[in-house]
């Protein structure tokens, strides 16, 4: 299986929308066990998308099975690298949130979740990839090897 380098941009928006819904639920439901389960599930979804590929994400499969057949093929495809990088950033924030929650630092967990939520909402609503915007800033800080 070769890594697909092009993806349906509408699928990315749907995936971001589902992600945002899950993260919003984490914030809204004031139950430790529910929050842990939801965050762990989201961490797993991000990990699959980041490490295996965007199309392997369960949310992407929902899109491919339910949404895409109804709206037809995309007019154009998009490079998979920016959104995949964004999934890594999402993975980092939700992992911090999960670890904090398990350690009993609920407020830290909620704030980390909120950062991931803002990124997912921006992606779903206006197609902005916050993780990608941060990329060059991070590369600039890194010592120049290039």
């Amino acid at each position: 299986m070769s890594q697909p380098t092009q993806v349906d941009p509408r699928g990315l928006r749907v995936v971001a929308g589902i992600t945002a819904a899950v993260l919003a639920a984490v914030l809204v439901i004031p139950s430790e066990p529910v929050r842990i389960v939801l965050l762990a599930a989201q961490v797993a979804v991000f990990a699959v998308a980041a490490l295996v590929g965007l199309q392997a994400s369960p949310y992407a499969k929902v899109y491919a099975a339910v949404v895409r057949p109804r709206i037809g093929p995309p007019a154009e495809l998009e490079d998979a690298r920016p959104p995949r990088f964004a999934q890594i950033v999402g993975l980092a924030f939700t992992t911090v949130a999960l670890v904090a929650l398990l350690a009993g630092a609920t407020t830290v967990a909620l704030i980390a979740t909120a950062f991931a939520l803002v990124a997912a909402l921006l992606n779903a609503a206006v197609g902005l990839c916050l993780g990608c915007e941060m990329y060059l800033v991070l590369r600039r800080i890194a010592p120049s090897g290039a």
């Binding site: 809204v28 004031p30 490079d79 407020t107 979740t113 909120a114 939520l117 590369r139 600039r140 120049s144």
Partner: protein, 142 residues
């Protein structure tokens, strides 16, 4: 309770960021005073400067709007004589990126005939924004 407050803050932050980005994208800053302009050479760019102006785009791999920006710039360069476009991979020119204070991709610089950076914009610009920036650059030329 804390969760609801955090959610509300996150929603407000999302709207604010979306509006700021929409305002910023493709907005060319007013030109710097002539004695304070950075200058790029054909050597740094790897291609000869345009006869009247050069559009320099900084791109990176993790950049969704870079491709669309490239199309806009190529379209403008094809329409305006004496204008060429250059696409620079930011990651391969990190020192240049730092020197020029570039924080995002895409960032578009407009150079006059001598290579001086007259104005710049980050994010996907509209065709008319690029044309207006070019007009100012060419009009200001000595």
């Amino acid at each position: 309770m804390t969760g609801l407050v955090v959610l509300a803050v996150a929603l407000v932050a999302t709207v604010v960021i979306a509006l700021v980005m929409r305002w910023r994208n493709g907005r060319f800053a007013s030109a710097a005073p002539a004695d304070d302009q950075e200058r790029l050479t054909a050597g740094q760019l790897g291609v000869p400067l345009g006869e009247r102006a050069t559009l320099v785009q900084f791109s990176s791999a993790f950049c969704a709007p870079c491709r669309a920006t490239r199309v806009v710039l190529a379209d403008v360069a094809a329409a305006v004589p004496g204008v060429v476009t250059v696409d620079i991979d930011a990651e391969e020119h990190l020192q240049l990126v730092r020197d020029l204070g570039i924080m995002r991709t895409p960032t578009v610089l407009v150079l006059d005939a001598s290579g001086a950076v007259t104005t710049r914009a980050s994010g996907l610009p509209r065709r008319d924004q690029v044309l207006a920036a070019l007009d100012r650059t060419v009009a200001d030329a000595p």
